[in-house]
């Protein structure tokens, strides 16, 4: 594959300015009501039809983006699913007080980004009349400012961290009306915006990846559509554009380069580059969505009084820090990452109470056993934490061998009862006697064949290494 440097542009000379905005869904109930943050599709329980108008902002001006949407004169159809929406999403009930759990996550993110939490949080209404909000505005609150992250190309400043509600999901657009699904509306989002100090397209990717990792270290949603990256960029003589809809981080540098080329082309032709919101397409080019909205679209949310945040929230360890800690115990990077990713770290830490066990063995058992049982025996792994607890405890007391742990897990998954006695380690003396018998009764067999017979008999009761040593000893003898 061609590396990105193929384009070989001098970004400094271009006057390249770039910042990133990330929107991440939080793993809590909705921001201003008690509905679960679940996306539901299919046949709606109810459909509501609405018109929206461009209302003036606090300073009396109507926002340019709002005017643009109004010029389309469309109406909107909202699909309501009772399991994930209520009258709040339908704009038929005032917002409930802000979800304190979501607020806490936003404050944690602010601290992880070294930002200053504001003294007083004022929830705002951001005018949005494309139909994606039934109220015609998105509720959003500035949580913190002036943060930073360290990157390979220096510090990148975090201008702001906001907590806001997600918009409704578009289902269908027609000339006369648009259809939206209400289930996504109101899911809490943390928005992070960097300043425009990103050096080049590869750097943009690095910053986005780092911010993603920091977010994943907190209580956020995972999976497709739960995180969205937007890129703001401009070049000398061009204009600031906001690009939305990146499918993955890999394509980010190429899309940025294509946008730079588009602006260069327009500049060359003597045309004016307009301030647009643009959408990234599958072919990595961008298309016009709407003008960039200005500050006139912000209005205070009069239904919610200002909030004094708790600036002393406890901050969790970052994913990268957790992985480093595990690596120090001798656990491989791959297993350490999986342990963190599959949220098994808590269980791992609990099992560390068995002091005689090798941490790498505990980690490997937690991560690999399930996969191996399925792969090798074609059995669905079916055991709970109690089974592991029992096995690790026996192993800790030297009652069974490490090999026995996997064997028993297989047996349990097959539906058998745990029978530890069957696997109890034999004393060295007994093992030696038994092996001596086998070797003497079959003097003609090769070393390998003898090993096969012995392993079959003593699997789980003695370590393979020890069996091999003893067979060798008696064979020679």
């Amino acid at each position: 594959m061609l590396s990105h440097s193929y384009f070989k542009m001098d970004y400094k000379k271009l006057g390249f300015k770039c910042g990133i905005e990330i929107h991440q869904q939080l793993d809590t109930h909705k921001l201003f009501c008690e509905c679960p943050s679940n996306i539901v599709d299919g046949k709606p329980d109810k459909t509501v039809k609405r018109y929206l108008w461009a209302a003036a902002g606090e300073t009396g001006d109507v926002d340019i983006a709002a005017k643009h949407e109004m010029s389309k004169k469309k109406y909107f159809e909202y699909q309501y699913f009772k399991e994930s929406s209520c009258l709040v999403e339908l704009d038929e009930e005032p917002p409930h007080p802000i979800n304190t759990q979501a607020l806490k996550v936003a404050l944690i993110v602010a601290k992880l980004l070294n930002a200053e939490i504001v003294d007083e949080i004022q929830v705002m209404r951001k005018t949005i009349v494309d139909g994606s909000n039934t109220s015609a505005f998105q509720r959003t609150a500035l949580i913190a400012r002036n943060g930073f992250i360290k990157t390979s190309k220096g510090k990148v400043k975090i201008d702001l961290i906001c907590l806001e509600e997600d918009a409704a999901k578009i289902v269908k657009r027609t000339k006369k009306f648009d259809v939206y699904n209400l289930s996504r509306l109101g899911i809490p989002l943390v928005e992070i915006a960097t300043d425009a100090s990103i050096k080049d397209p590869e750097h943009a990717k690095e910053v986005a990846a780092k911010l993603g990792m920091i977010l994943r270290s907190t209580k956020v949603k995972r999976g497709l559509g739960t995180i969205r990256q937007d890129v703001n960029l401009s070049i000398k003589k061009g204009a600031r554009v906001e690009i939305k809809g990146f499918q993955d981080l890999k394509s980010m540098p190429k899309i940025i380069d294509k946008e730079i080329k588009r602006q260069q082309r327009l500049i060359k032709q003597g045309k004016k580059v307009s301030k647009d919101v643009r959408k990234a397409e599958d072919d990595l080019s961008t298309i016009f969505l709407r003008p960039i909205p200005g500050s006139a679209r912000m209005y205070p949310e009069t239904d919610i009084p200002p909030i004094r945040p708790d600036k002393n929230v406890e901050v969790p360890k970052l994913i990268t820090e957790k992985i480093e800690d595990l690596k120090e115990l001798g656990i491989s990077k791959e297993i350490a990452s999986t342990l963190v990713k599959e949220k098994k770290l808590k269980m791992f830490k609990e099992f560390r109470k068995f002091k005689n066990l090798d941490p790498t063995f505990i980690a490997a058992t937690l991560i690999n056993s399930q996969k191996d049982i399925k792969k090798r025996y074609n059995v669905e792994p079916n055991y709970g934490k109690e089974v592991l607890e029992k096995l690790f405890s026996s192993l800790d007391k030297d009652k069974i061998a490490e090999e026995a742990v996997f064997e028993i897990l297989v047996e349990v998954s097959k539906g058998k009862k745990i029978d530890i006695s069957k696997y109890e380690t034999m004393s060295d003396k007994k093992l030696e006697q038994e092996l001596k018998k086998i070797v003497e009764s079959k003097p003609d067999l090769s070393m390998g064949a003898l090993m096969g017979i012995a392993m079959k008999k003593f699997r789980g009761k003695a370590e393979g290494k020890k069996i091999a040593e003893l067979i060798k000893k008696w064979k020679k003898g």
Partner: protein, 436 residues
């Protein structure tokens, strides 16, 4: 320095640029360039420096009303309510401040439907509405209709909108033209303002053949159509939905669409005429609603008697019950002092007019079905003679105040209370009207 000015706020740590917003308690509020408002603890502020003057905050667009002589003349009276709200920097909530011109600016299309004249006698939230306000409105409306207006649109807070529509129904005798009472459940500073459609439908209603007071508000949660509901048969049945106003015990009069289409649903209404409207605004203020509930102490009635009240509406349970302690063979531990019967008797003996209305809102009351009903009816409390009443408690209250303003004679008042005067008592119960 005033809100709206561009300023620099210096704290020990940094200098923040933005637009100064009205202060909130111990915080200086700044609108940042990105539009967000941020509160800065006053203790941290070292200095605020003005950079340049701004254009002020909280400015509302107004619309100059152009007279369109070929359109029907309709008087637009604004009295406050959500339909006339804007952000309040004193409390952070919204308050009622808009002039009629500012409300019209939200719905410029109105000027293509009717020829508007605006009036604003006062602005208030509907819970602050007073009897004197009602009198003022009734006179104003009668004057307008008698001097050429083809109809009246009255904008009003929604919480007590149905009291206003009922009181105007009684006060405006020989009402010859449509009076549309309109509000909003979403304020006009939001893009989802519902008052816009309500106003347009009200304008179409004012051009119709109907004579009388009606509430014109959203018929459903969608922005599709409004219902015009008789002023004496309507009630706010939800705290916040657009379609909170529902007809009680009868069907709505009509369904109205924004394009002017009107479908009559209930034929039982008076037609537009050339009669002269008379504003009969006398109203007895010493009238109250008293609600019955398990464990309710009837001695509250003594308080009303002592304080010179002239009439009471008793909101009884379902068919019109009050506690008597005589309902079964084993009355249990019912305290005889808790029976409402002696208190109601006393009130009537003292010359008060006492009327029964039901807590259920839907359905008629009845004086005979149960022993307790007969006991209550025997006190002389009004249930309706030949026709048991289906009046809403709020309407009964307004009617009683108005009736006692017209006559001091108890017998005459009783007669008027029993008689259907403004469509407040229906003759036949329509099965379809329940939970409509």
């Amino acid at each position: 320095m005033k809100p709206g000015d561009h300023v620099q706020v210096k704290t020990k740590k940094e200098t923040i640029k933005g637009i100064l917003m009205p202060q909130q308690g111990s915080f200086v509020v700044i609108k940042l360039k990105n539009g967000y408002n941020m509160g800065i603890d006053k203790k941290k502020v070292v200095k605020i420096k003005k950079i340049k003057s701004g254009k002020g905050i909280g400015k509302i667009k107004t619309k100059k009303v152009k007279q369109k002589k070929d359109l029907p003349k309709v008087t637009f009276i604004a009295t406050g309510g959500t339909i006339g709200t804007h952000v309040d920097y004193k409390t952070g909530g919204v308050f009622m401040c808009r002039t009629p011109e500012e409300i019209l600016a939200t719905t410029p299309k109105l000027a293509n439907i009717i020829n508007i004249k605006t009036l604003s006698p006062f602005t208030t939230a509907s819970e602050d509405m007073s009897i004197d306000n009602y009198k003022k409105l009734a006179k104003l409306i009668a004057d307008e209709l008698n001097s050429g207006a083809q109809g009246v649109i009255l904008t009003h807070g929604t919480d007590t909108l149905h009291y206003t529509s009922a009181v105007l129904s009684f006060m405006l005798e020989d009402l010859n033209k449509p009076v549309a009472v309109v509000g909003a459940q979403r304020s006009p500073d939001r893009g989802s303002f519902d008052g816009k459609m309500n106003l347009i439908c009200a304008a179409h209603f004012c051009k119709s053949d109907f004579a009388g007071v009606a509430i014109v508000m959203h018929g459903s949660s969608s922005d599709e159509f409004c219902y015009a509901i008789r002023g004496t048969k309507c009630r706010k049945m939800h705290t916040s939905r657009r379609d909170a106003f529902r007809p009680i015990n009868e069907l709505p009069l009509a369904k109205i669409w924004t394009d002017g289409k009107i479908k009559i649903i209930n034929e039982n209404f008076d037609k537009r005429s050339d009669k002269k409207v008379v504003a009969k605004t006398k109203f007895e203020k010493k009238v109250a609603i008293v609600k019955v509930f398990p464990g309710s102490d009837p001695s509250i009635i003594d308080w009303y008697i002592k304080n010179g009240y002239k009439g009471l509406v008793i909101e009884g349970t379902a068919l019109g019950h009050v506690p008597t302690g005589e309902s079964g063979t084993k009355a249990g531990k019912f305290n005889k002092k808790m029976s409402w019967i002696p208190y109601i008797k006393k009130a009537i003996d003292k010359g008060l007019v006492v009327v029964m209305a039901s807590t259920t809102l839907y359905g008629r009351i009845h004086p005979f079905v149960y022993r307790n009903l007969r006991l209550a009816h025997d006190t002389g409390m009004i249930y309706g003679e030949k026709l048991p009443s289906d009046m809403l408690p709020e309407v009964a209250y307004v009617k009683l105040g108005w009736v006692l303003g017209q006559t001091k004679d108890c017998e005459k008042a009783k007669e008027m209370m029993i008689k259907n005067l403004r469509g407040e008592i229906t003759k036949r119960s329509d099965a379809k009207s329940f939970l409509f």
